[in-house]
Symmetry: C2
Subunit: 323 residues, 2 copies
């Protein structure tokens, strides 16, 4: 089996997950890490290079897995790096996916590279379930629930409030709405009403809890409109009980094949580690990226363009055993 | 949008499901039904022709959806019909899928047709989940549970027992094993121990219930080795309470991204009508069949070969909205 040579760009939690996931892939080899903070010691011991050297590895690396953040890194990095390598990213700013797609499509087509974007679980495996659900039950409706899990964005938003020393926010789907979907009811619900926001907050010395609670609950775009629970705890308790990164969620397709004949598809993830799982999905799609490239296909692709068989390091006959 | 012209082969429950599903597809048109029992009145009013006339429609029909049974019809019918049309089937005899694939691949390549086999939910959407699960969590294990739902094969087996007037058999997954999977435990379990077989039996006049019960519970390949419940009821009760065809099941992928770091993927179906849902999936893959054909791809394909985007009657940009 020909080995796919991988480079990792960035070196946070997601990157360390990719590093680990490659160790479970018999057909992949990690060649280098690129980071603004290089030199640094990687967990696997692979060499880390400063970003400036990234163009020097075109004969040694096939696919770059981009592990920066959607807000600041991925849009610009992708366009730079896809000039030289196939790239895979987990771009998750839903509102900008189309712009990102068009930009990368232009760059990757010109460079004859494959750029695979928005890979992970949402967008990613959840997107796939939304599509398959709509295909199988065109007369129906998709429902997505997130959690129970830590939202990094909401946790950060709480930490920016004056008087807050540290915080973690869990997004929690409300069981009653989930249950309605499972019964085949096509409800008209918003994310606000179907989710609870559970906050664990460490107050700074002398901060007023009521003021902090108000600031959280009324924060536009994050908490306003949601049922929000604010729990004040010590730093020690936060570190002890809220130090991991669990997440998950549900995608349901609720449809009818005839009036009153209800069919329900439910997909759920229960993840001990959100970044490790996302990373594992990225590595599978790096494999698919090489298969598209081997067919001389170039440009930007999403999870919807990838034949499932391209994801496994197995022969077609071996894969058919999974039928 | 160009319309795909469909023919249905066979006219049982699955075929009637396809007939209905086409009515939900804006890009499909049902042209004819072919049946050994023709002439017959179809539910949609479309014309039914005897099987002998099937080769006369090569200018009017693009894809034939084969709705016969795996045991007797699909292997031979597929080879005959794929000489003239693209075909889609729901062949579900797992042990013979590879043989069926190779046969149809030869025929369809020679005829420059697309033959799409083993489409439905198992094999089908469940197979997809087994593949995506393995791709996302290579260090893990797949578990498939069937039910609660009616197994036609097991119901028929009971009906063949002397002293049985009628019967329905529900396959039921055992909750305790499901729960173990959900907790991330990679158990070593067999289908026998993880499923219950629930039988509703109408005795013939003068039949001995104990004898019938013994005959059911000890039937090799069907019930022996399973926990089996036999309930004797009246024909009237059977018709009233067990007259529909619900089914469903679960596919779980349980894996680790690091020692002790557990990730669980669960997929489940809860179906009021097994044949209607299977039919709906077949229609989506008839659409994909046309897209493969438009790329001049020929031969036999499975659900693993189909890019998800080929399943919806939407533009690529519209499909990306599902990300």
């Amino acid at each position: 089996m020909k080995t796919t040579r991988i480079g990792i760009v960035g070196y946070g939690n997601l990157a360390r997950g990719v590093e680990k996931a490659i160790s479970y892939a018999p057909d992949m080899e990690l060649v280098a890490v690129f980071s603004r903070r290089a030199p640094l010691q990687t967990e696997s011991g692979v060499a880390a290079y400063p970003m400036e050297q990234i163009t020097e590895f075109t004969r040694d690396i096939d696919v770059m897995i981009l592990c920066g953040g959607s807000a600041n890194d991925l849009m610009s990095q992708g366009q730079d790096i896809a000039k030289h390598y196939h790239v895979v990213d987990s771009f998750d700013t839903h509102a900008k996916i189309e712009e990102h797609f068009q930009n990368l499509n232009t760059v990757a087509q010109a460079a004859q590279k494959v750029a695979m974007i928005s890979i992970g679980w949402d967008p990613g495996l959840f997107s796939l379930q939304r599509l398959y659900g709509e295909a199988a039950l065109p007369n129906g409706k998709n429902f997505t629930f997130w959690g129970r899990g830590i939202s990094q964005g909401h946790s950060n938003a709480i930490r920016r409030i004056p008087g807050v020393a540290d915080a973690k926010q869990y997004t929690v789907p409300k069981e009653a709405f989930l249950e309605q979907c499972r019964q085949g009811n096509q409800q008209d619900i918003s994310a606000e009403e179907s989710h609870l926001r559970e906050c664990y907050v460490v107050l700074a010395e002398g901060a007023d809890p009521d003021q902090v609670r108000d600031a959280i609950c009324n924060m536009e775009n994050y908490f306003a409109g949601y049922e929000t629970q604010v729990n004040f705890i010590s730093q020690e308790e936060l570190d002890r009980n809220h130090g991991t990164m669990p997440h998950g969620g549900f995608v349901l397709r609720v449809g009818e094949t005839a009036p009153g004949e209800r069919e329900v598809i439910e997909y759920s993830l229960t993840l001990d580690s959100n970044p490790a799982f996302t990373a594992s999905v990225l590595v599978a799609y790096a494999r698919a990226t090489m298969k598209l490239a081997a067919e001389n296909r170039h440009g930007c692709f999403t999870i919807f363009d990838v034949p499932p068989a391209y994801l496994l390091p197995k022969t077609p006959a071996e894969i058919r055993h999974l039928l």
